[in-house]
Amino acid sequence: MLHILHQIAKTGIKSETAPTADEDMVVVARLQKTILRTLGRALTIRHIDAGSCNGCELEIQALTNPYYNLEGIGIRFVASPRHADMLLVTGPVSKHMAIALQRTYDATPEPKLVVAVGDCGCTGGIFGQSYASLGGVASVIPVDVAIPGCPPAPRALLQGILAAISAYAPPVAPAVDRAPVEPTLRPSDGPDAP
């Protein structure tokens, strides 16, 4: 036990300041105000690998290391889409994962955000579209923010995640305002969303 405490003390605090949101990554901005009103400053994320090479997963995992300390800024990964506010989806979407991705999306309560991760999640990347690959995440579910990169570095991931919840938000987020959420939030959404 002393060893452990000693190591913790010796390591010190490694966490770095989070980057600011990169609003260039925002594809569609509609939900943010509602999300912030509903969530305050906490965000839960469900990750879905829809057919990636595992490169993006490694960088998403890195977000929880002490340097990026995702939980320190109120964001954490959850085990079920039913507990999630945001889906972080890596691609390309393989045809074999399309149904599972759609079901996971359907299981996520409104209001929900979708962030497509990596070149493959954005466009299909090097795998493109084929007999086995549907390409980018937007070909199956609506995407709010797209984070390019192969894979995107953890800081870029953070910038994209923050963009999804902070872009177009009021300067001071009302942390305890729990106004009811409109039931239908995505009338114009579809696979063709830009």
């Binding site: 390591t11 690998d49 595992n54 490694l58 995992q61 929880t64 290391n65 090097i126 084929s130």
Partner: protein
């Protein structure tokens, strides 16, 4: 393997390790596999190709490995109706490879198990994507198959279905448990969810450009795949990367191993209920990735290894940082290892958990890191050492227990050995060019590239087409061999130990599903 007792004539096969190829009849295919098995050999890979345009029907290729090197057995099926013999009674790992060869090429195996493996109703079951006359129809929507899992019946037996979307940040796959209480009676895996048509995609790329795709077969082993691919291209072109490039490739391969082992050591600790381990090891892994980015321009080292050499040289300043990092990692990991070893709760979870005995490992063809933890010493870096490993001498790491604790121990020892190797490479790295220009590549030449990745040996069978194109590329991940072994490793364990056992193997989904 000496194939002359079988009356076979072997010709040489371009590869960086000793390799030969021979044409075999179906009877000879079986007897060659039996002979290999009796002499301690193992099945590396089995794949099929459409060669009807060459007037040869379908080719089934079986790659074997023993102490002498590789032997490629090539069998021809003259038409669609022909069958090749079932090799799974000799090499159980052949089962899924045979099923996948049917799903993708339509080469029929004379096996009892005719269930699909890679196919999941995304295209008609009588169409075969890797055939040359295959055409995609936009009408094919993702479908759902009714996969016949084997069920266990009895009082109190129930079924748990997990995946393809998992609770953690990991790849997609499905696990079907048959349990009584908490005890696992049987586990059946259903993979293929990450199938994105990599082999077909290769055929639309040039030999020179294919390295980018090779580096994305399994992102955690990008260096190993890119090395294997680059070597295969160089074997086809009959050239070699300059010595400095060979040393830098090995340096990257070892840094990939270090980063990966650090990540796994953290996650295995975490799955054992010890979050401190994950914080500490993920911090160290991040340090390695950041220095990768600084030195080579990419955190995971993607696109650094290219056919002909390496894309970026290592400057003296970064080399000095790497030396310092080796020293600090050695110190830190030694402290953490003591903490792991002395933590009673953690050791209680690790010891005896998910055990694979040496006999079982041999029988099922377990390979790579997991095999070394079960007492099988194979390591391409030692068995067929080439530049720079021949000059440095890699200390082989093995363990005998075959449980989670053993796989953790092998990771610790291999990390220390890789740190030693990185230092030795930095000390003795030759100067000179980092890339050579590739000569024109001849058509219709088959070569094998290989590299000992952190997970195990990675092979790429590459066949050139006209004008520098790729005719066929079959990448082979050690996960093909090791996934079926997990089904055995969990028997009799409790369900909550499955994540720990699975993580201690940490196999690839993408590299397997292709």
């Amino acid at each position: 393997m000496n194939v002359s007792p079988l009356g076979l004539a072997a010709s040489s096969l371009p590869c960086t390790m000793p390799a030969q190829r021979c044409r075999v009849s179906s009877g000879q295919l079986l007897s060659a596999c039996r002979l290999a098995w009796e002499r301690g050999g193992a099945l590396v890979a089995l794949w099929a190709s459409d060669e009807r345009d060459l007037g040869r029907g379908f080719a089934v290729r079986v790659l074997l490995r023993d102490g002498d090197g590789l032997t490629l057995l090539e069998h021809t099926l003259p038409d669609e109706g022909a069958r090749y013999p079932d090799l799974s009674p000799i090499f159980p790992a052949a089962n899924r490879m045979q099923r996948s060869a049917f799903d993708l090429v339509g080469a029929v195996c004379d096996a009892e198990d005719q269930r699909p493996w890679t196919w999941q109703a995304a295209w008609p079951i009588d169409r075969f994507p890797l055939r040359r006359d295959f055409e995609v129809s936009p009408a094919w929507a993702p479908g759902q198959e009714d996969y016949p899992f084997v069920r266990v019946a009895g009082d109190g037996v129930h079924e748990i279905a997990v995946g393809p979307v998992h609770a953690g940040t990991i790849e997609p796959g499905h696990f079907r448990f048959q349990v009584v209480g908490e005890k696992v009676l049987r586990l059946e895996e259903r993979l293929g969810y990450a199938h994105k048509g990599i082999e077909k995609r290769f055929e639309s790329l040039s030999l020179v450009d294919g390295y980018r795709l090779a580096g994305r077969i399994s992102g955690d082993s990008t260096v190993a795949y890119a090395c294997a691919y680059a070597q295969a291209v160089e074997s086809i072109a009959a050239c070699a990367a300059p010595p400095r490039a060979a040393w830098l490739r090995a340096l990257c391969l070892e840094r990939e191993r270090i980063a990966s082992h650090l990540g796994d050591l953290g996650y295995v600790g975490n799955d054992g209920g010890f979050a401190f381990g994950l914080s500490q090891f993920s911090r160290l892994r991040e340090d390695v990735l950041r220095l990768n980015d600084r030195a080579f321009g990419h955190r995971l080292l993607m696109d650094v290894v290219v056919p002909g050499g390496i894309a970026r040289d290592l400057c003296a300043e970064d080399a000095a940082l790497m030396r310092e990092q080796c020293a600090s990692l050695e110190r830190e990991i030694a402290v953490l290892r003591d903490i792991y070893d002395e933590h009673a709760g953690l050791q209680d979870r690790f010891r005896g958990c998910g055990q694979v005995t040496r006999e079982l490992a041999m029988k099922l063809g377990l390979t790579g890191l997991a095999a070394r933890a079960s007492g099988l010493p194979d390591d391409l870096r030692c068995d067929f050492a080439r530049t720079p490993y021949d000059a440095l001498g890699v200390r082989r790491v093995t363990h005998t227990d075959g449980d989670v604790a053993a796989r953790v121990s092998v990771r610790f020892d291999e990390t220390f050995e890789s740190l030693r190797l990185v230092r030795a490479m930095l000390a003795a790295m030759p100067d000179g060019d980092i890339a050579t220009e590739l000569p024109q590549t001849p058509a219709s030449r088959l070569a094998i590239g290989c590299a000992e990745g952190w997970r195990g040996p990675i092979f790429i069978a590459l066949e050139s087409g006209h004008d520098g194109s790729i005719r066929r590329c079959h990448p082979h991940d050690p996960s093909w061999q090791n996934w079926p072994v997990i089904e055995h490793a969990v028997i009799g364990n409790i369900v909550p130990d499955f994540p720990l056992i699975n993580k201690s193997f940490n196999l690839s989904y993408s590299g397997h599903d292709l």
